[in-house]
Amino acid sequence: MHNPKDPAVPLQPLLALENLKKYYPVRKGIINHTVDHVKAVDGVDLTIYPGETLGLVGESGSGKSTIAKLIVGLETPTEGRILFDGQDISRLSPREMIGLRSELQIVFQDPYSSLNPRKRVGDLLAEPLKVHRIMPAKDISREVDRLLELVGLPKNSRGRYPHEFSGGQRQRVGIARALSLKPRLVVCDEPVSALDVSIQAQILNLLKELQRELGLTYLFIAHGLGAVKYVSDRIAVMYSGKIVETGKVDEIFREPKHEYTRTLLDASPIADPRQRNKRRAFHSH
């Protein structure tokens, strides 16, 4: 694989999943013995290069959210490795993980559930800075202002509680919090699917802007191709725990190889008439 920005330079992946598996036991019977496993993630290989956005698409239950949880350490894999910058982080103890926290962050799907309703926005953003002692206490206030500005929220937001914000504004707070530790990789777990369509675009634009300004790498998870197509450099399609197809955005849209990808393409509305025509042509073959 070559640098997507400059094909001449071969590049080391920022994140690589190697044969990653996550099985959940199905317990049954009187003594609760394990009778079967749900193979949520079943042997996934995936690489993400610095500075790119990899879109991960699949229907709900396909295992894409489990991959997000595995990467940020909310779940432990049953098998396989998660290499971050060449180092296996899949089985680190919580203590060893602390140093890596700043490198890997996540933006959650539901902005209503992802912000603690009892904390002011300013405290939500300051807390990670305090916990990790990133900067002297006197600088924290200024850093919070900077984060708010970064995501396009007014400075007076810091004294307010999450319930005073709309869904889109909340998601901006969630993004600011994820960025507070200056991560290199941000996992966006369906960050816009809980929002109104008109607001989705704003958040997607914000994410793209932030990527440009801060040199972020994204794993962007979604259940449809619409948003993914807009933000991604490459797309991986997931189906029942496995990656069935990976490729550059236009490759996937032009020549979907896997049947499931074609189903997804048919399901997603195409805004661009030229694309639509192309697809028609493709189907008429």
Binding site: R27, K28, G29, I30, I31
Partner: protein
């Protein structure tokens, strides 16, 4: 379903074991030991020591526990330290009156609480509703023993129409009417409690159901209001109430201790009080164990009943 019952029974085993361990710890913590009780102060120290060894009191605690436990498995609860009677027999003799008292109170209490709670919910904010809710608050706020004393004052001492103590008149024939008269006041006290706790519960459960969409649908379908209430709402409102009934059992047990003391009702509660007063720990342990078994069984039956009433619940996991 069968599997679920088995599973619940298996889970109950460690709980019961825990109960026996706590029982045993309490017994060990208790001041004095059976030997002091069995032998007069004149007995020489050597004989005392021999008796201690004979009773196994010199053995380490876990050996003593094991011996106590194996006796228990054979249904042997030991002997009272005060009357030297077998604990099992003493408890058995007292069980009937207590079950009569608790059972009657529970049935009447529920028979009051359910219709009153439902009516109260259907006529929310009516005079009846306020009366029922206030009454329910009073029911849980009046101390058992104060209500009992008040009843004795009014009905036995002032009006002289009800007997104030015992289960039957001394020298009387112990017939049905006699027992019934003795039963009235203690049952009123416990019933006030049961009804007090459950009226508001039935009411809020019913209110919640009445809010739900399927009832509106039933109404929209043109079903008669009473039919709607009876067929749809009441059944669903009663489901959560089943669980609460299971929780009534240990509370009633506790209430019985105080009530039987006041009305000299010859049941488990009075036995509990008298054995506590005379530090008859072997009897107390037997009583505790019995109570725990009943509570656990009641909980199990509640859960099974819950599963039977509520078709949504499947115990397959």
């Amino acid at each position: 379903m069968f599997k679920y019952v088995i599973r619940r029974l298996l889970i109950a085993i460690p709980v019961l074991l825990g109960v026996t361990v706590i029982n045993f710890i309490i017994m060990k913590m208790a001041p004095g030991n059976p030997v002091d009780m069995l032998i007069s102060p004149q007995t020489p120290a050597a004989a005392l020591e021999a008796k201690r060894i004979e009773l196994g009191l010199d053995a380490p605690a876990y050996v003593q526990y094991w011996s106590w436990f194996t006796h228990l498995l054979r249904g042997d609860l030991g002997y009272s330290m005060v009357t030297y009677e077998p604990v099992g027999r003493m408890i058995f003799d007292r069980l009937g009156p207590t079950l009569l008292l608790m059972g009657t109170s529970l049935i009447i209490g529920v028979a009051i609480a359910i219709p009153l709670g439902i009516l109260s919910a259907r006529r929310q904010y009516s005079k009846l509703d306020y009366a029922a809710v206030t009454g329910s608050f009073l029911g849980i706020s009046i101390p058992n023993f104060f209500l009992g004393l008040g009843l004795i004052y009014v009905f036995s001492l002032w009006l002289k129409i009800l007997p104030s103590s015992g289960m039957s008149t001394l020298g009387g024939n112990g017939g049905f009417v006699d027992i019934l008269l003795h039963l009235i006041m203690p049952v009123i006290v416990l019933t006030a409690n049961v009804a007090g706790r459950n009226i508001r519960y039935v009411r809020s459960s019913m209110l919640e159901i009445l809010e739900q969409d399927y009832l509106r649908t039933a109404r929209a379908k043109g079903l008669k209001e009473t039919l709607v209430i009876n067929r749809h709402a009441v059944r669903n409102a009663l489901i959560p109430i089943v669980t609460v009934l299971g929780m009534e059992i240990p509370i009633l047990f506790g209430g019985a201790v105080v009530i039987e003391q006041i009305f000299s009702w010859p049941g488990i509660g009075q036995l509990t009080m008298s054995s506590i007063m005379s530090r008859d720990y072997s009897t107390i342990m037997g009583l505790n164990l019995l109570a725990a078994v009943i509570v656990i069984l009641a909980n199990l039956l509640t859960d099974i009943a819950y599963a039977l009433v509520d078709p949504r619940i499947k115990y397959s996991k």
